[in-house]
């Protein structure tokens, strides 16, 4: 069902934890749907993501995509991080089963939510996150 890569990132997730003095925190998902991702970032003044950590409540794919997404944005500039797509996360994990694609969407959104938080705190007038993508389909997410 899961690729080796997914299982590796599930078993040995990178960047798990919190950043006590994070200047960017984003949380997406919903306990009701069984997936919450929370991403902490330490972003430098020249907008480089110096550190990133996550906490995730969710299935194997949710944990693996969190791990992979944090790996992919770590050390990148915020603008580069905003180019991260769920597809790129999936590809980096050698694919996901169809029912798990929404996890990669959540991971992309969690990154954007953290960056949005950074902008908001800084008073930068940018919107990088839309409303819930309803990626989780027929569950009663967000209601």
């Amino acid at each position: 069902m899961y690729s080796e890569k997914v299982l590796d990132h599930f078993e040995n997730p990178r960047n798990v934890g919190e950043i006590a003095d994070a200047n960017a925190v984003g949380q997406v998902g919903n306990a009701k749907c069984g997936d919450i991702m929370k991403i902490y970032m330490q972003i430098s003044d020249d907008e480089v993501i110096e550190d990133v950590k996550f906490k995730t409540f969710g299935c194997g794919a949710a944990i693996a995509t969190s791990s992979m997404a944090t790996e992919m944005v770590k050390g990148k500039s915020v603008d580069e991080a905003l180019t991260l797509t769920n597809k790129a996360v999936m590809e980096a994990l050698d694919g996901l089963p169809p029912v798990k694609v929404h996890c990669s969407v959540l991971a992309e959104e969690a990154v954007r939510a953290a960056i949005q938080d950074y902008y908001d705190r800084k008073g930068i007038q940018k919107k990088v996150i839309e409303k819930c993508s309803q990626c989780c389909g027929n569950c009663s997410c967000g209601e």
């Binding site: 078993e11 919190e18 069984g34 299935c59």
Partner: protein, 395 residues
């Protein structure tokens, strides 16, 4: 690490070697078609008759009331559609419960689309339905009551005898899905007033793909699988001879010493429950403490998700199951856990450990050893637990 510590016996079981031994001739030299007149066929026919008697004896039925099927699902489909469609003129109302297996629920969905009306009785926090509710739900148009014997997820045993008595008094056909009860408690279709009962072999150390429907003699219902004259012309298709023989042997073994089996398994189950409670905080047993099937343990662990739990257990060699949405093929968690009132987020974090004759004290020890650190590890990753921990610290 252990190789395969199997705690998913409610999903399926290992074929017992005596069962496989009974099957082998019919997978090799005794390949005759039971409908044939020559010796090879006649021997296959006798083998099926013997298996039929074994099933009948195990449930207090007559041989001619037992019909072999391709599994528990087919038995459920046949029982419910057969009675409903065969008694349409009498009425269109069916009484069932919110916690039936999908083989029952989706069959009822289908019938609702055909114009049948279904009452789904609610259950209490332990998953129990009330016979009083059954009685009150009966209408003039009620043609079938279908209530499962024991639930596959949380192991609750329903008051089948009381419901049977009500059904009998009102002259309404009573079906029970006994797939999860078989072998774990005495079942007598007559004392319990059961009119139709679904069974499946692979839950009792028999082969997959074979089951049976008990049908009380004289009960009015339609056929489901049309074709050849097999099974007293009521269930067509060349018989799965090896499977049927295996089922017969499996049911004989499973019901030979129910008290002994139950005592042994329930003791392990109880130790598992007690120890999980004592070793892991923020958890809850789903289903009742008493009145639960001897081989079922079902816990919810707050703040974590079930599929992740299963994957980590698998990495330690433990096979188990969950009512998590991720493993249910849909996005909602188990309808059973929701029906007993669990909020979604807690339902997502459930774990079912189901035991069998092959479960050992070492298996129990092992799962008790590996489970707490896994739960702890997942909680450490969980943003939900983080809040709680913080909350706890601040108190």
């Amino acid at each position: 690490m252990r190789d395969c510590v199997y705690f998913d016996n409610a999903a399926t079981t290992k074929i017992k070697s005596a069962v496989l031994e009974a099957m082998m001739p019919y997978l090799t030299e005794e390949y005759g078609n039971p409908s044939s007149i020559y010796s090879l066929g006649a021997r296959a026919h006798s083998a099926i008759d013997e298996a039929r008697d074994q099933v009948a004896r195990a449930i207090g039925a007559k041989g001619r009331e037992v019909f072999f099927t391709g599994g528990g699902t087919e038995a459920d489909n046949w029982a419910i559609k057969g009675v409903a469609l065969g008694n349409r003129k009498k009425g269109n109302h069916i009484i069932s419960t919110a916690i039936e297996h999908h083989a029952v629920l989706h069959t009822l969905d289908y019938l609702e689309k055909q114009g049948f009306e279904v009452t789904y009785l609610p259950v209490d926090e332990y998953g129990r339905i009330s016979p009083e509710d059954v009685k009150n739900a009966i209408k003039d148009t009620t043609i079938l009551i279908t209530v499962m014997f024991a639930n596959n997820e949380i192991g609750v045993i329903e008051p089948i005898g009381e419901i049977g008595a009500i059904a009998k008094e009102k002259g309404i056909a009573f079906h029970t899905d006994a797939v999860q009860a078989l072998g774990h408690m005495p079942i007598d279709v007559n004392t319990l007033n059961i009119d139709l009962m679904s069974l499946s072999a692979h839950k009792i150390h028999g082969p997959k793909g074979v089951g049976a429907l008990y049908v009380r003699q004289g009960l009015r219902m339609e056929n489901f699988l049309h074709g050849g004259a097999q099974e007293q012309k009521r269930r067509s298709g060349t018989e799965n001879v090896a499977g049927i023989v295996g089922f017969g042997k499996a049911i004989q073994l499973a019901t030979a010493d129910i008290a002994g089996h139950t005592g042994k398994i329930a003791a392990m189950r109880d130790r598992l429950i007690d120890e999980i409670y004592s070793r892991i905080p923020y958890c809850r047993l789903n289903g009742p403490r008493d009145g639960r099937v001897c081989n079922n343990v079902n816990f919810s662990f707050q703040y974590i998700e079930g599929e992740a739990l299963l994957l980590m257990l698998n990495m330690k060699g433990v096979a188990a199951s969950s009512g998590s949405a991720c493993t249910s093929g849909s996005l909602d968690p188990s309808h059973v856990l929701l029906a007993i009132g669990l909020p979604h987020e807690i339902a997502h974090g459930s774990l079912r450990l189901s035991l069998s004759d092959y479960t050992t004290q070492e298996d129990i020890d092992y799962v008790l050893e590996v489970l707490p650190p896994i739960v702890a590890r997942l909680r450490a990753m969980s943003p939900l637990y983080e809040e709680i921990e913080r909350g706890v610290k601040y108190v």
